[in-house]
């Protein structure tokens, strides 16, 4: 059991927790936060799982980097829409 696998296991736990949060939270902001945490978990798995075989693998690093960019932009978009929604009189916690 390497340290990398620990990353993956911790990542899975984070994912599991955040999925629970995502599904049970009503507030849209909370959901967004849960999504971000979930993303972190997945990234942990991504860097953690493949590493145990043959040293450092550049591919997961690159993938995670891309993933983070995507997640950030998605969060930004979600925030914009959420703000608009609230301004338009929408209830953020339906």
């Amino acid at each position: 059991m390497t340290i990398d696998l620990w990353y993956a296991i911790v990542g899975s736990i984070i994912v599991a927790l955040s999925v629970f949060a995502f599904l049970t939270s009503r507030h849209l902001m909370k959901k967004l936060l849960a999504f971000n945490i979930m993303g972190s978990g997945v990234f942990l798995i991504m860097v953690g799982l493949p590493q145990h075989q043959h040293g450092v693998d550049p591919v997961p690093q690159a993938l995670v980097l891309t993933g983070i960019v995507v997640a950030v932009s998605a969060t930004a978009l979600a925030l914009v829409i959420l703000r608009r929604y609230v301004r338009a009189g929408g209830n953020p916690a339906p």
Binding site: K31, I45, S73, R84
Partner: protein, 484 residues
């Protein structure tokens, strides 16, 4: 040749983002011409030279981005260009009433196109992920365009579903990479064995993609999003966007994980499809708003796509081949027909000023072409001949007969009747002579772009040979494998 199809939309996306509004408008037609032209050229090239691989910037996989253009992907590319082009023509006239929305529509439109093209051409699972995310974000942006409370809510729901789905997918990708050390679809399809890791990975990805494809019972986000968006947006979303995630799903089940999937799982997917057909049709039959009707119709029609899995997995090669052909044809026919239907409905709503089906009286006199387009696309959706939808249904039925799966046979036949039940609700009222209020004339371009798409759906019934011959270029026939 291949990367041009990514470069063009991206370039125009940036162009339309940067240029002033009027200039941006002027770039649309050249952009569309370039895009369609490039797709057609690629089709011709593939037809002559066979499938091609292309490594972007000469960076080889796994770090580089590899593009694969085979018969299937060029078919989808051509479909995308055609549908998008007509939707764009429509949007040009439709959006004159929405100046603010117009500003953001075009960049999003081009990004959407780039994402779709990227997905069709992607050769590895991670590129598919990137494509999916880009697609999801631009689609959500388009839904949110009008910035009304309801559409914003729909956009948010859509966004969360898309994000959740993407992460589930990404987790699966991570597992697969951890197990096999590659993301290339070609390599994975040779390596992926029927072990728990693969199956868990596939399960995660499947759930994510089902959510993105809005397959019953995970379809909750689709009707408000598709029904609430502007007409050209709905058309693009229903015709193309949901197909992208289905495409990946099919790739996973029939190619990447062909050795890992089980017949029972495939049957379960079929039951989801059947549920979608019945539930979607029932909801479409119940709803009062015409756009919701069309949106629920999408839910139902997506169910037919899911029948691919039980019909193609664990059966004879001939039956699987039929199922595959039928599904592809259904995908194409539905894309044309549903785009046409949303555009036609958009025109009618524009003319009437509302979308209440029961108050559609008199619409046939003032907007006959739009109504006719609606009718033609409905013919294809109902699977009545002559239409692409009918040919697709025929092939699927033949596949069900060939593999002796009578339950799917029955589902498809009943599904056709249910479709008829809800589309004829619209025709019924359209024959009422007396209009309850004013009906405006609409721009002919709006009516005729819808008609052109509808005619393509019908014409596909006579030209099914073309996509089929492209399909035969790919050796992508689902393998008869699958452990019980």
């Amino acid at each position: 040749m291949t990367p041009i199809l990514l470069i063009i939309p991206l370039a125009f996306a940036i162009l339309t983002l940067l240029l002033p509004r009027n200039w941006a408008r002027a770039t649309i037609i050249p952009g569309l011409v370039l895009q369609v032209g490039a797709a057609v050229l690629l089709c011709i090239q593939i037809y002559h030279d066979g499938p091609q691989d292309y490594a972007l910037g000469d960076w080889q996989a796994p770090l580089g981005i590899s593009l694969i253009a085979d018969g299937f992907s060029v078919t989808l590319l051509a479909l995308t260009s055609l549908v998008a082009a007509l939707c764009a023509v429509y949007a040009q006239y439709f959006l004159t009433r929405y100046p603010r929305e117009q500003r953001y529509f075009w960049p999003l439109f081009w990004f959407l196109l780039a994402a779709l093209n990227g997905i069709w051409l992607a050769g590895d699972l991670f590129n598919l992920y990137v494509g999916l995310e880009l697609l999801g974000l631009s689609a959500v942006g388009m839904v949110a365009l009008t910035a009304e409370k309801t559409t914003l809510k729909a956009a948010l729901d859509y966004l969360y579903a898309a994000l959740f789905g993407s992460l589930a997918y990404l987790a699966g990708v991570a597992l697969l990479y951890g197990a096999y050390g590659t993301l290339s679809i070609v390599q994975l399809s040779e390596m992926a064995a029927a072990n728990p890791t693969t199956q868990v990975a596939l399960g995660l990805m499947t759930v994510g993609l089902l959510l993105k494809t809005a397959i019953f019972p995970l379809h909750y986000w689709l009707p408000p999003a598709h029904g609430g968006a502007l007409a050209p947006v709905s058309a693009l979303l229903s015709a193309l966007v949901v197909k992208a995630s289905f495409y990946i799903l099919a790739l996973l089940w029939l190619d990447v994980g062909a050795l890992a999937v089980t017949v029972n799982a495939a049957q379960a997917m079929g039951f989801l499809g059947a549920g979608a057909i019945f539930w979607g049709s029932w909801q479409a039959f119940q709803t009062r708003q015409i756009k919701m009707l069309v949106a629920y119709s999408t839910v139902a029609q997506l169910g037919y796509l899911m029948l691919l899995f039980p019909l193609a997995i664990g059966v004879s090669e001939a039956a699987a081949h039929l199922a595959w052909q039928g599904t592809v044809l259904h995908l194409l026919a539905h894309a044309f027909a549903k785009a046409a239907m949303f555009l036609a409905v958009g025109t009618l709503v524009l003319a009437l000023g509302h979308g209440r089906i029961n108050d559609f009286g008199g619409v046939s006199q003032r907007n006959p072409v739009a109504l006719f387009a609606f009718g033609l696309s409905a013919v294809s959706l109902m699977g009545l001949p002559p239409s692409g939808g009918f040919n697709a249904k025929w092939l699927l039925l033949q596949s069900a007969i060939a593999s002796g799966q009578w339950h799917w046979f029955v589902v498809m036949v009943i599904g056709g009747l249910l479709t008829a039940a809800y589309v004829f609700r619209v025709f019924r009222v359209s024959f009422v002579q007396t209009a309850k209020h004013d009906i405006q004339e609409t721009h002919p371009a709006l009516q005729f772009s819808a008609l052109a798409l509808a005619l393509m759906a019908i014409g596909l019934g006579f030209a099914s040979e073309i996509p089929m011959s492209f399909m035969n270029l790919t050796d992508f026939t689902p393998s008869p494998g699958g452990s019980p």
